[in-house]
Amino acid sequence: MSRFENLEFGEAKRGPLKPGADGTPIRSAGYFLEQAEKLYLAGDFELALRNYSRALEQNPAEYEGWFGQVRMLIELGEYEEALLWADKALELYPEHPDLLASKSVASGRAGNPEKAMAYTDNALSQKGGTPYVWLARAEALLERGSATAAHCVSNAVAAGNATPRVELEAGRTLLRAGHCAPALQYLRKAATLLPQSALAWLELGRCQAALGFPETAMTLSQCLTLRPHWQPARAALERFQRRGLLSRVQSFLRRPRKG
């Protein structure tokens, strides 16, 4: 015991314990961003959005929070709100390529391909092509049926140093456009590198189901193990199990051919 142990130094000494000292997590912006990311990978976009908002409550200057909110609004299908919120974020971060890219994605999914292309042009003209910018470009091009979309996806993966998260997004972008075969490799990699992500397993399962692969049931079961009673996974599994002859033929035709 130190001889200075009982000396009085004011209230500060007897204040609350330092965060984390008692094992409770630090409720900082970083903590909420981390939670939001985890929830996103679990496929719970609603809760992820709330966590991004809480991160911004802690620190409104946290760019990841604004961008995450816009992305979650897009995932939830609220494109008009996403555009509105991206505009608000652009007031704080003018001409940010990721925010412009998110506006491109929202516009494209809302059924305005011309606007989507314009936004993605603007985003690419800014400095620093982030993976999200390239993926937004790929999505806009896929909407138009352009063959250069695959090149944009490759650029995105390269720009993101082939991180599992970027692989997952690349796979999702391709799958959304119905390009199941190229999406499969990205999603397989994502599921391998992010084995705890229910979203990665779901997307992989959907891709496999579209191609009619028998391992679909196992993939989706894995997803349900990670997140039991998840409605999209259950629906996908049921749909796969009840698929008819026509669906099987279509899946067979979609499969990649050797050589």
Partner: protein, 394 residues
């Protein structure tokens, strides 16, 4: 850049300002989502995208709308961008277009909008032809109604299509102006076309008499020329067809004079008086002029002691079973028509209380004052295969 609130190069936020920013994004109501889904699907079609662009353009123009500038309540929000000079020019253009549209399609023709002329003016012209062809009939009336509406449509179209007005109007204002303008113009045009018809001096009526020598049967449409009101005697000859306004009259029969029209109809034997108003207009044959002495017999009319040709001057059914003598007074005309006589027969040929209707009473029904003789028949108009000018029988 320590100490800076924002990046001096790009303006990015560098310093947190808690409470100054709203960090919770807006959310879409659940009920909107299905509609948005449908809209997203519909955006695959160019027509829907065009409609959206139109709506967006209309919303953008609302601020500069003439109605907004005029401050019409409930029509649009007020605007402050449109200068009065521009508004005045827009309204002037609209007024000129409205004036030009008195001749349907003239405004469009001057602006080289030949598409509008093809669509609307040709329809208007065809409706007018139909209206004239079937003048005096239901089909003709319906065609003329189409003419009014199409003319009103062309006029509002001319106003809306003026460049300055069109650029400033919202879709809602355009529709409001169209509907309101048409409603107003149809009323104006109805009066205007009526005046034109009156000025031309022609009208039409359904024949209530059969005149074999003129090839006129009951129900035929007779084109008539208006007589000058107040002229005495009227420029009409015996044997001519005449459009008369049939007054609603009440009769009293028998000593008590009670009639089925009500207990208040207490008259002397064979008397009549106006029951108020008119039953309608019909075309009959003029037999006698003011001052003539007429004897009605089952075999024909005897006018001033001279028997009239029964082929040219047929006797209606209700007058050919008894004789009666009448002397027409000043400004009284004897016009026969079958339906009027038949109406009397429909009363049973008997008055109320079982008393016999005399021919004299029925004949009194054929006497019309000069003010009720409106027009002289000049032409068989319908049916088409009997179309032709009427002969002068005297």
């Amino acid at each position: 850049m320590p100490g800076q609130a924002a990046c001096f190069r790009c303006g990015s936020l560098l310093e947190a300002k808690p409470g100054a920013l709203e960090v919770h994004p807006p959310r879409a109501p659940a009920w909107k989502k299905p509609f948005r889904w449908v809209a997203r699907r519909m955006r695959h079609y160019e027509a829907f995208r065009a409609a959206e662009r139109l709506a967006q353009g209309a919303a953008n123009r609302t601020a500069a709308s003439p109605f907004g500038r005029l401050g019409v309540p409930g029509l649009s929000r007020p605007a402050d961008k449109l200068p009065w000079g521009e508004l005045r020019l827009a309204l002037r253009d609209a007024a000129v277009a409205l004036l030009l549209s008195i001749v349907p399609g003239l405004s469009q023709a001057l602006r080289r909008q030949f598409g509008a002329i093809r669509r609307y003016v040709v329809s208007w012209f065809l409706s007018l032809v139909m209206g004239i062809l079937f003048f005096g009939q239901s089909l003709g009336a319906a065609s003329m109604a189409c003419v009014y509406v199409l003319h009103a449509w062309i006029a509002t179209d001319a106003v809306i299509a003026t460049k300055r007005f069109k650029q400033k109007m919202t879709a809602f204002e355009s529709i409001s102006l169209r509907l309101g303008g048409i409603a107003l113009l149809v009323l104006l045009l109805y009066a205007a076309y009526g005046q034109v018809q009156r000025a031309m001096g022609f009208t039409a009526g359904l024949a209530g008499v059969t005149v074999p020598v003129d090839r006129v049967a009951m129900g035929d449409v007779i084109l008539c020329r208006f007589l000058t009101a107040g002229q005495e005697p009227l420029p009409i000859k015996r044997g001519d067809l005449a459009l008369v306004r049939v007054p609603n009259v009440l009769y009293g029969y028998g000593e008590n004079g009670l009639h089925g029209h009500g207990e208040n109809a207490l008259y002397g034997h064979g008397e009549r008086r106006a029951g108020g108003g008119y039953l309608g207009e019909t075309v009959g044959q003029l037999i006698a002029l003011p001052g003539d002495q007429l004897v009605v017999t089952p075999k024909g009319f005897v006018l001033n002691g001279r028997a009239l040709d029964v082929v040219k001057f047929p006797v209606p059914a209700s007058l050919n079973w008894e004789s009666a003598t009448l002397t027409l007074g000043k400004d009284e005309y004897f016009v026969t028509m079958e339906w009027r006589a038949l109406e009397e027969e429909a009363h049973g040929g008997l008055g109320a209380g079982g008393r016999v209707v005399t021919v004299r009473v029925a004949a009194l029904d054929c006497v019309y004052p000069g003010q009720d003789v409106l027009a002289r028949g000049v032409m068989r108009w319908s049916p088409i295969w009997r179309r032709g000018f009427l002969k002068e029988l005297e």
